[in-house]
């Protein structure tokens, strides 16, 4: 006996489909958590195993229930929704874990002394990372000052002027630069300054040059993408008003994309501010504050954290605490830059109301 039409559904019209109640997913979650807990209580409990088993049982349960009540299309929808949410939670785990580890370990030394003292003459407890914070801000600042104009101008050339071989070559080189390992960038700056100043040279500016090699391609890429998004009609509208090309680029194209460029630059800063290896070979490390990027070694937060952790002074606890707080400060700095970029984006982005 074959059934031609499903019994619940009228052959014509929209019909009424049955739905799972809105609390069904939560109920399924509770049931599967309890079930997984019970199973593991017999076989030996572990948190990770419990979470994984809960997730699997939950998906099976929900999809089965949905298939029975709501039909195959809804069941597929629930299955894919679970996958998406699962992937999101999975991606969140390392983020939360890192944030939690850094905050809980770094909180101990997150005090005024940490921001006001350097490590000069400090033995044992106390001391701070003022020298490393200053170094990171100076070196990253110089890197940004160099990379942003170079990167933006390169992107403008590629998008607005570049044709044929030259543009293709530049695009290819930028792609290659994007993939350079950071230590290679550091060695490049080291080799460059060794040619000029000899192998003993350790300067803040060397670090900036190394970081520029890493930052410029990121800025170029981000800016290029954003500039290509500016509709051609806006450029034409500007040309048709008798505005020269360069003014059109500055006042229409760049102005329209400021928000996106700001975001791109922030991402690029975040990319380089945590670099350790290239700074170790070019800037070195020191214990005192050095505001002059053209003379002598400088401390930076990543190298400071690395050194305090890898070669702790006694008592070890104090050294490790300082390392964690340095990491925390670095995270906060990146967050601050993100915040600034958000504000800039908000202020400059096109509006409709």
């Amino acid at each position: 006996m074959t059934q031609l039409t499903s019994p619940q559904r009228p052959a014509v019209g929209l019909g009424t489909t049955r739905h799972l109640p809105s609390w069904a997913p939560y109920a399924a979650l509770a049931v599967s958590a309890a079930f997984a807990g019970a199973v593991l209580a017999l076989a030996g409990f572990s948190t990770a195993g419990w979470l994984v088993l809960t997730a699997v049982v939950f998906v099976v349960l929900l999809v089965a229930a949905s298939r029975a009540v709501e039909g195959p299309r809804k069941a597929t929808d629930r299955f894919v929704t679970s996958l998406v949410v699962g992937a999101f939670l999975l991606a969140l785990i390392p983020l939360i874990s890192v944030a939690w580890t850094v905050i809980s370990n770094g909180a101990a030394r997150f005090d005024v002394e940490f921001f006001t003292y350097s490590m000069r003459g400090i033995v044992g407890e106390g001391g701070g990372a003022a020298h490393a914070i200053a170094g990171t801000l100076i070196i990253t600042g110089i890197t940004t000052l160099i990379s942003v104009p170079v990167g933006i101008l390169t992107a403008v050339y590629l998008v607005e002027y570049g044709r044929g071989g030259v543009a293709q070559t530049i695009t290819f080189l930028v792609d290659v630069m994007t993939g350079i390992p950071s230590i290679v960038a550091g060695l490049f700056a080291f080799a460059l300054f060794t040619l000029i100043l000899g192998p003993q040279a350790r300067l803040g500016i060397m670090g900036s040059v190394a970081l520029c090699v890493l930052m410029i391609p990121v800025v170029v890429r981000a800016t290029e993408e954003i500039l290509r998004l500016v509709p051609h009609e806006l450029r034409e509208a500007s040309y048709a008003l008798g505005v020269p090309k360069w003014r059109t680029i500055v006042k229409v194209v760049l102005r329209t994309s400021v928000a996106g460029i700001a975001t791109g630059v922030t991402l690029a800063i975040a990319r380089v501010i945590g670099e350790t290896a290239p700074l170790l070979v070019t800037v070195g490390l020191t214990t005192a504050i050095n505001y002059n990027p053209f003379e002598g070694r400088m401390a930076t937060l990543p190298t400071f954290a690395w050194f305090s952790y890898a070669a702790p002074s006694l008592p070890v606890e104090a050294s490790l605490d300082r390392a964690w707080t340095a990491a925390l400060v670095l995270v906060i700095l990146v967050m601050l830059f993100n915040l600034i970029a958000r504000i800039v984006s908000r202020a400059f982005s096109p509006k409709t109301r």
């Binding site: 509709p231 009609e233 034409e236 500007s238 040309y239 048709a240 008003l241 003014r247 329209t256 409709t352």
Partner: protein, 259 residues
């Protein structure tokens, strides 16, 4: 402040592709000239060559002469930027600058060129241009709101205001009403009638009624087939194009027996 344009033997290329061939015509000052013809016959291409917007496209070039008041617009001593200041353009799709307010959009021609202007002068220009584009009454209370927040028809009139704020001699309009409702269309047609007393106006349209309503002269373009260049078939005063055209193709087209 309106000018006569004489085009002689104009060939327009996209790279190696000859898009429009051998066009000669005279565009009279203080009149409305309409371009009609099937899609792809090169109306937009020809229109854009009248203010040197054509060459903005990579590889695009033009052969022949476009003479305005005795000066060849394609002469080697002519700056295309100056040409575009004299010959303004309104596009098919309204394209106000998204980062600018309504007032800033109107002033864009001056502001983008960093022209210094006193506050009162700027206010006057905004008001007169918006009045000229029939938009003043609708937006006078929200001049500082974003231009992109207006309706499509209002945006198009904003673009017209922006174009006339730079005080061109000639105004080119490429299907200015194709994205608009009948009421906005009527508003823009009225506007064209008013602007005619000050400007030389050239308008591309697919709407026969519109062409017969607004224009004094009509030019019919046609194309022999895909890949072939578009050509000017005939140009004459609008009444005779629509009532007794001299060419068979024109008659077929305006009476809807095309293709």
């Amino acid at each position: 402040m309106s000018k006569r344009i004489d085009v002689s033997d104009l060939n327009i290329y996209y790279g190696d592709f000859l898009a429009v061939e051998g066009v000669s015509m005279a565009i009279e000052p203080r009149s409305v000239t309409a371009f009609i013809g099937p899609s792809g016959c090169g109306k937009s291409t020809f229109l854009r060559s009248l203010n040197r917007m054509h060459e903005v496209i990579p590889g695009a070039r033009v052969e022949g002469k476009v003479v305005m008041d005795g000066q060849d617009l394609y002469g080697s001593d002519i700056d295309p930027v100056d040409v575009r200041r004299t010959v303004g353009m309104v596009f098919q799709r309204p394209n106000p600058f998204p980062t600018m307010s309504i007032a800033e959009n109107v002033l864009a021609g001056a502001r983008l060129n960093s022209k210094r202007m006193r506050r009162s002068e700027a206010d006057d220009l905004v008001e007169s241009s918006l009045q000229g584009a029939n938009l003043w009454n609708e937006v006078k209370d929200r001049l500082d709101r974003p231009g992109a927040g207006l309706s499509g028809g209002q945006q198009q009139r904003l673009c017209i205001a922006r174009a006339i704020a730079v005080k061109p001699q000639v105004l080119l309009m490429d299907e200015p009403c194709s994205a608009l409702d009948p009421i906005s269309t009527l508003a823009i047609e009225d506007l064209i009638q008013q602007l005619k007393s000050d400007y030389t106006i050239v308008i591309v349209t697919h709407n026969m009624q519109q062409a017969s309503r607004v224009s004094d002269m009509t030019a019919f373009f046609n194309i022999a087939g895909t890949g072939k260049p578009g050509k000017l078939i005939e140009m004459s005063d609008t009444a005779s194009i629509f009532s007794n055209p001299s060419q068979k193709a024109t008659e077929d087209y305006v009476s809807g027996r095309f293709g």
